[in-house]
Amino acid sequence: MPAHVERTELPGIGVRHDIVTDQGRRLSVLNLRDGGREIALADEDDPDRASETIELNDDEAIALSEVLGGSLILTQLAGLREQVAGLSIEQIPVRADSPFVGRPLGDTKARTRTRCSIVAIVRETEVLPAPGPADLLRSGDTLVAVGTRDGLDHLVRIVGGS
């Protein structure tokens, strides 16, 4: 179930987004009008009050969102599956016996042969979003592909080497 995000306008200051976690803690992200941003954690004794406020500059905010976002891409894609009719998502493992281990992604010719897009490569704990045709595939990678059901089945067979 998606978390409930509450949006509050702060006239003249900016916009605040609140997320209340399962454990009842309130986490706020404040986007200031002048471009700055703060994150704050609500006090446990007094949930109306922020016990700690941290200012983030642009680079820090990007870094934080990447750290959090990387692990979230897969979850978000799973959500997409339910939203768009006729479009599916498949996580395709690159096994050690696949003909494409050590070869660039472009060699699979996924787009021309199956009309599927490979939107990310998951490698151990890392996520490579929007990989290019020159990115080399390794054994153990997982390809995240979007396309029609038939196209994806075809792609699974291609990557598997059959």
């Binding site: 509050t8 306008e9 702060l10 006239p11 003249g12 200051i13 900016g14 605040r16 706020s28 404040l30 200031l32 009008r33 703060e38 704050a40 609500a42 004794d45 007094d46 949930p47 109306d48 009050r49 922020a50 406020t53």
Partner: protein, 398 residues
């Protein structure tokens, strides 16, 4: 020395002086406005060093300062935000007005200044300083607190109410007879409604009219439009400040954002000149007898704001500690109170009114932000938690 050189020297020394005062204020961690007011008092009529040659500049600069203060305030808000807040927090806004306008009106009547001065004083004690309060909330790390939207919506409603209050006050200040007075009030309010309608329905058109990617073009267009509408508004007896405020509201989106950026330095300069002007034109000999009434008024006025904030936060479902935080945060009065006093005295109301307003603003602006820290003290937190626990126990028993 010829006159031109003397004017430059005086103005230069003044602005440099304001710069030093602002530096001192930053070091003390307070708003520079009270220090600038005090500086003006020291150099003005009855002060230490009389000041003459740059008077004309200061006077016109002060007028532009008021217009810029309101133009920028208008730019902060969109018409939709104003109307939305008005719908959501109407009751809190009304309570705020009744509780906080009353002490001012009463003291004006007690001092025998007449009903028009009572309306002016009502405004002076009613309006909190959105500038100072926003700064305090930021400094105390309360922007993400849940009571903060409550505080802000009260400020927004007050600022919005000024769009109607100022024209009425201006009309009352000018109005000679009941009939002409009523007519000018009606004309003033109709003009406000008309401009507001344009801002709400055709704000995008106004924004497009002034929009430019070039900073200088945008600056000149927005400033020009603001001054022009202010002048027209003053001509129609609506008060120039309101004209500027409404222009600010009508401009929205990227135009408002960039206009804010380019106008901020100008606002800082002319607003400082305005506060200095108020200090300069307040006679220190008039200030002394007003000190005791100002202190009493400040105590009552801060008390009524505390009640307002507490009540508004309770209505919004905020727990005990947050209610106190909202109440304490609302205490500082500022630029609007001074603007009102300036208007009133320019129209010939008892000059002591400006002295009282200046002292009142000085006290609330310095003491308010200090008091705002009280609810963060451990002892205070413990006390509010006890109140809350007792209340829960009573409710459970009942």
């Amino acid at each position: 020395m010829d006159h031109g050189a003397l004017v430059l020297i005086e103005i230069g020394a003044l602005i440099l002086g304001i710069g030093l005062l602002s530096r001192l204020a930053a070091w003390m961690g307070i708003s520079p406005i009270p220090l600038i007011l005090l500086g003006g008092l020291a150099f003005g009529e009855g002060g230490l060093i009389p000041f003459s040659a740059g008077e004309e500049f200061i006077e016109i600069g002060a007028e532009i300062g008021v217009i810029l203060l309101l133009l920028m305030l208008g730019l902060e808000y969109t018409a939709q935000e104003l109307v939305g807040n008005l719908k959501g927090s109407r009751t809190a806004g009304l309570i705020d007005m009744l509780l906080n306008a009353a002490p001012g009106a009463l003291i004006a009547l007690l001092l025998g200044w007449g009903p028009v001065a009572a309306v002016a004083m009502a405004g002076i004690t009613w309006v909190s300083s959105s500038g100072v309060i926003a700064k305090v909330l930021q400094d105390l790390g309360r922007l993400t607190n849940r009571e903060t939207p409550v505080v802000l919506s009260i400020l927004v409603i007050e600022d919005f109410a000024m769009a109607f209050y100022l024209p009425v006050l201006t009309a009352l200040l000018i109005g000679t007879s009941l009939v002409t007075g009523t007519i000018s009030v009606v004309i003033a309010l109709l003009s406000v409604v008309l401009i507001l309608y344009i801002a709400l329905r055709h704000g995008r058109f106004v924004s497009r009219l002034v929009w430019s990617k070039e900073a200088d073009v945008l600056l000149l267009s927005v400033l020009g439009l603001g001054l022009l509408v202010s002048g027209l508004a003053a001509g129609a007896n609506v008060s120039s400040a309101v004209g500027a405020f409404l222009v600010g509201i009508a401009i929205s989106g990227p135009a408002a954002k960039h206009a804010q950026r380019v106008l901020t330095p100008l606002r800082d300069l002319f607003a400082a000149v305005f506060f200095l002007f108020i200090g300069l034109s307040t006679d220190t000999r008039e200030l002394v007898p007003m000190i005791v009434p100002a202190i009493l008024l400040a105590i009552v006025g801060m008390g009524t704001k505390l009640l307002t904030g507490y009540y508004a936060a309770r209505r919004a479902g905020i727990a005990e500690p947050g209610r106190w935080r909202a109440g304490f945060a609302l205490m500082p009065r500022g630029e609007f109170s001074i603007v009102i006093a300036g208007l009133a005295v320019a129209a010939g109301v008892d000059r002591s009114l400006a002295a009282l307003a200046t002292a009142y603003v000085l006290i609330t602006m310095v003491v308010g932000p200090l008091l705002a820290r009280i609810p963060d003290a451990e002892r205070f937190k413990a006390a509010t938690r006890r109140i809350q626990a007792n209340r829960r126990a009573r409710e459970a028993a009942a």
